[in-house]
């Protein structure tokens, strides 16, 4: 069942009037469509600055889209402030990259979890509230719960803080959770535990989960399907294993070739691949064309439409469209 959906989402940020007059808008997200299903982990993969967080914020209604729609259970929503936003936030929660910035340093763990319970009316009494807080801590494996309840954020490690942030998101009993690089700032040795926790939550509670990451190997392990984004546009999507083992889009292939991989068999080659474009002035046609090893003449003039590849896979690429 599709819980949360983005349709043709586009977001242009208009720059403030600078000293030299208007600067061109940053075309951060262009025509992005994504669907999140109950009980399923979907990954959105792309490099720094490609627009992943902007997609997350659009889905979470942090700001309105320039064009396109967000649908919750099939209904178009526009809930950017007031009661509508609060009600939306009860159903769609966000988790951020930085577990250090997302918790108020002056409040204990108990407060961070009790507040959403109270605001959203889930706690019936003080005793009930305490019970629910303990249950949340239990769910994110911060045990013994009595010990963690009274800790301040600075007394917790990065991984533990991220667990508190997850517990806080769960407190309102959302139907969808958007995790924006939830483990990127954590040490390798503790990433795994947090990812396993997210996986378990989707599995056991039927949450629809969007896992946003630049680490495509982790998406292979923790997501059922992967969507790859480049310079503000989606380029390819499909089941995680199929996509990582036999990528179709030239950018996905470059991403896979470039990712650190101790098992790599091909020798080091010396080659320059250029850099991602500025989103204030992105290349016309396919945004990857200046770096694409198999670009065709049409690539620089016309945006490639979606080509269905079967088995739930699709790509936006002229080369794939030709076959």
């Amino acid at each position: 069942m599709i819980v949360l959906e983005g349709r043709n989402l586009t977001k242009h940020f208009t720059a403030a009037r600078g000293r030299w007059g208007r600067r061109p808008p940053v075309r951060a997200v262009e025509d992005v469509s994504l669907a999140l299903r109950a009980g399923r982990v979907s990954a959105l993969v792309g490099e720094s600055g490609c627009g992943k967080s902007t997609v997350a914020r659009l889905l979470a209604q942090v700001y309105p889209a320039t064009s396109g729609d967000v649908l919750l259970r099939g209904e178009v929503v526009r809930a950017h402030r007031g009661a509508a936003f609060r009600s939306y936030r009860r159903q769609v929660q966000l988790i951020f990259q930085d577990p250090f910035a997302s918790l108020n340093p002056f409040h204990r763990v108990r407060y961070h979890l009790a507040r959403p319970l109270r605001v959203h009316g889930h706690a019936k009494s003080d005793a009930h509230e305490r019970e629910l807080v303990a249950e949340l801590l239990e769910r994110v494996s911060l045990t013994p719960v009595d010990q963690f309840m009274d800790k301040l954020p600075h007394e917790l490690s990065g991984g533990q803080r991220q667990r508190v942030a997850i517990a806080r998101a769960l407190a309102v009993r959302p139907v969808a959770l958007i995790a924006d690089e939830p483990v990127s700032m954590l040490d390798v040795s503790i990433r795994l535990g947090v990812l396993r926790l997210l996986e378990k939550l989707a599995d056991e509670s039927g949450l629809a989960l969007l896992y946003i990451t630049h680490d495509i190997a982790s998406a292979r392990y923790f997501a059922e399907d992967i969507t790859v984004m480049y310079a503000g546009r989606l380029v390819e999507s499909g089941p995680a294993e199929a996509l990582t083992q036999a990528a179709r889009h030239p950018y996905t292939r470059l991403l896979l070739e470039s990712a650190p991989d101790p098992d790599r068999v091909t020798p080091r080659e010396r080659q320059r691949h250029g850099e991602p474009p500025s989103l204030a002035d992105p290349p016309g046609g396919c945004r990857f064309h200046p770096r694409c090893p198999v670009a065709l003449p049409v690539c620089s003039t016309t945006v490639p439409g979606r080509t269905e590849l079967g088995d739930g896979r699709w790509t936006h690429c002229w080369e794939a469209a030709g076959d």
Binding site: S157, I190, D261, D263, H273
Partner: protein
Amino acid sequence: MNVLEVRGLGVDYQSATGAVHAVADVTLDLRRGEILGLAGESGSGKSTLANAVARLLRPPAAITSGSVLYRRRDGTEADVLALGPKQLRAFRWKELAVVFQSAMNSLNPVATIGSQIDDVLRIHAPDLSRKARAARAAELLQRVGINADRLRGYPHELSGGMRQRAAIAIALALNPEIIIMDEPTTALDVVVQRDILHEIGALREEYGFAVVFITHDLSLLMEISDRIAVMYAGRVVEVGTARALRTAPRHPYTEGLLRSFPRLRGPREELLGIPGTPPDLRSPPPGCAFHPRCRHAFDGCADERPALLPVPGGEVACRLNEGAGADTAAREAS
């Protein structure tokens, strides 16, 4: 064949709540022309160790013990920790250069790239003429894949990847024997990162400098390093060839790290991870600092700290390996 020998090095940060032993009793060799990877979780002491070797530590950091010996090609030696201000100026850039994670912090934002390379050349190679310096600056930029017309550009006009390349060009300016790179590519796009790593590898082949490459990304280190040293809680716990560490890690921490990151190819192996969290260095656990997180810990581990001992293919500090010590190594070598 060693270009640098670190012996028993200790570095503390003094703080109101007690001394942090950021680097404790580190003994490590850097061989001429090798890429030595330095791995470990954040806070394990990698940057502190690198800064100590480069003589870049500032208070409240203080070296509490040990020595660092630099060996030149001509057989002369320098006691790095004893260098005076004048000798230090000659040592930096010419013999040892550093590239930091954020090139923006190491480049001067108000000077052109060209003038920054020129500064290093003018101060450290005074016999070069102005024209020779200009030619060298252009050549250096081209070497790292930046068009020479960028010489007149300012750092903010370059992308993150190009700034990082420019910082590497400056590090190369005086043909140092050692380049220390502290997370030089962490902030970059993986594709750009890979291009830069290729570049570093090719330049190393050409010039023969040794590289100390610091990152928490063990999979990256496995690919690019000749040897890898793994740090935990301020100490080196395992050293070995990249291959030995990948195929047969001996320290339970190295093994845990290796089995924590998902693989891109091959079967989806089960990930083990490491339970618990890294220790507070003000009061590290007694004995082996890793024991509270170690799945192989036994009774003695909390009592006695294991020494870094030779094993076939490297060195390891773990009581499980104390039996397989130097004798075995000697036997296998003969």
